[in-house]
Each structure stands twice: as C-alpha cells, then as structure tokens.
Subunit: 210 residues, 2 copies
Amino acid sequence: MKELQERIRQEGQILSEKVLKVDSFLNHQVDTGLAVEIGKEFARLFAHEKITKVLTIEASGIQFAMATGIALGVPFVYAKKKKAITQGDVVYAASVHSFTKQETYQVTIVQSYLNKEDRILIVDDFLATGAALVGLADIVKASGATLVGVGCVIEKTFQEGRGLLEERQIPIQSLARISSMSPGHVDFIEETPLIPSLVTVASGNEDSPC
Amino acid sequence: MKELQERIRQEGQILSEKVLKVDSFLNHQVDTGLAVEIGKEFARLFAHEKITKVLTIEASGIQFAMATGIALGVPFVYAKKKKAITQGDVVYAASVHSFTKQETYQVTIVQSYLNKEDRILIVDDFLATGAALVGLADIVKASGATLVGVGCVIEKTFQEGRGLLEERQIPIQSLARISSMSPGHVDFIEETPLIPSLVTVASGNEDSPC
C-alpha cells in the first residue's frame, strides 16, 4: 500500500534496527482517513473469503479492525489483555509475550463471540515476533471457527512472525513489509498476492500493452 | 439515541445495580454499524465547536473515537495505560482508578500530539465514576489545548462522574443516560442539549404545530 509506505518513510521513527515508532499516525495519534483506507484494503484483499467477523487484540489493533469491519459490513471482536470484573463468562485464553512492553500477559475472548460458523479475519498493526497473532490463531482454532487469514498493517520481515503463521498454513497479507531499516532509511519488499486475479489490481497497468 | 437505548435494553446484562455489561455489541464484540452511528451523533452534537482532534483512552474508547474522528474528518489520539519502550518522548500523565478492574494505573499522552491550537472532544464508552475522563481533562488543560466537551456512549447518572466534570465547567453529552437499573430493567433519562437549536433536531417534530 503505497500511501502507507510513504507515511512510514516520512513520519516513522526508527529507534533501532528492530524498533519502528509510528505513533504519530497509526497507534497513538491515528490518522482516521488513512486507517479507513487500510480497512478498505484488507476488505479488498480478502473479499473472496466471505468473512463474518474481524478479530484483533487491544489496544492498537482496534482502529484497524474497526475500519475493516466497516468496509466488510461485519462486527469485530477484540481480545482483552486482562479479565475485568464485568467479564464473567467462559473465555478462550492464550498467553502472549509482548516484545515492545517486555511482559507476558493473558489474552481472553468470551466464548460466545466466536462460533463454529464464523469465518474470521485477524487484523493487527504489527507482525513482528508473531506472538499476539499466534495466540489469536490458537484461540480461533479452539473455537472451531474458520481462520481465513491474517492482515497486518506493518510487517518486520526480519523477525520470526510470518514463519510461525506459515507453519500453521495461515494466509498473510501485510500492507507494508519492511525488509530492513536503520535511522533515516527503510526498505520495503512486495507482498505476494493471495489469488492470481489480485496481481493486476495490486500492480496497476504499468506493464499492460494498452 | 434511541437505537442505542433499545440495544442496551435488549442485550445489556445487568450484573448488579452498578455494573452493566454491554460487551456483546459495544466493548468486546463491536457492532461496527452502531459504532459508526454513535460517531455521527457525537459529531452532530458538537458540530458547532470546530473540533480539531478527538481524544480517548485505550482500549474501549478507541472504536468510538475512531467513528467520531471519521465523522468529523479529524484524527484521534488515545491515551496509553502503560509506557511502552517505543514511547520515549516527553508525556503528559495522569493517575486513574478503574472501577471495573479495581486498579490504579497511569495514563500517558505524548506531548507533541496535543497543541495549544487544538480544540479537543473527549469521547469514551462509559461515564460512571468519571476517573478516566477527569484524568484526560486534566491532561488537556495541562497541554493548553481547548477542551470543547465530553461525549459518552453510556452514562450511569447515579455515579459521581458527571458532577466531577461539571465542577470543571465541561459540557457533557451522553447518548444513553441510565438513571437506575436492576436485572431485567433499565430506566433512561434525557440529555440536556448543549445549544437550543439542537432541541428540535433531537426531539423530532412531534410537538410542532405543522
């Protein structure tokens, strides 16, 4: 997604070879127009999958799950990181280690919000270590629902996340795939389209004989 | 907001005289269509205020801040509950006690995302004890930005939140004001419009001589 990649180049702050800060437009202050476009792009990429529900994890996945849910006309569910006293139901749970916060926490989803008939798209802001996404994927599997894929806004391809999801045969689409970064410099690589018909749409008509 | 009040009556679970659970459609599983309408309603109620930014607190305020930001065509900022290692900037901070989670936590906002020129609308899912909203209001004051008001999806009028905000002369608009509740029963009271011209729009033409 060109617009997103340009914003990362312009506004992203690279704190180290592994840590990218995008909180001026994605996950602290949020450019709502860009978030809406990100939601439309996930909806387009997975349009063939008859998705019934979008799933994410609090907090920074919510704006993108919301945008994707709006674009698809379906509800979304966000996994919670702690059990509140109003959350008294039977839950699915998974343990997740956060790279950015250096802590392990429990994520939970009330069981009645994931059904066997559901076709789930997981959406999140980052694919890096993959810990949160693997936790969500395990929860979807436990629920008996179908996981149609994972959509990530930014992927750090040099971390292990994609590999962990691919081991589970989960289709992935990332909108900005960073292959390497250093202060002042970001390299992106292209995503592989899920189905051949999307190649033309994704790359435009630059190579067309017309 | 009639649609919202009906959904609370139909799907809200009243766990005690003080605890209302709405996580099937508002703050765990989210009805994106309803959330979009809630955002449009906040945008309408504060349309005269030339808002430049919507402010909320993670996690359950995000979907409503997003919807309101979309409706107003402005960005939103969400206060974070813990300082992540990617958040290295100078922050505004406030201490907040959570009634539902029975814990006190620190909320922070990177200072560069609130400017003196900003006209801020705070949005959240619940107005109950008011702790989170007072914390956000104090942060806005510290930043020098103008706080134009607070929009709450659900208010529990029998708790102290509104009083604490009114002491600070902050205009409040709640979309569903619960005066009392018990298992199987919810009573609502009407909100007072901010400006007289909104009375007609809000109540329709039932009393019109036409």
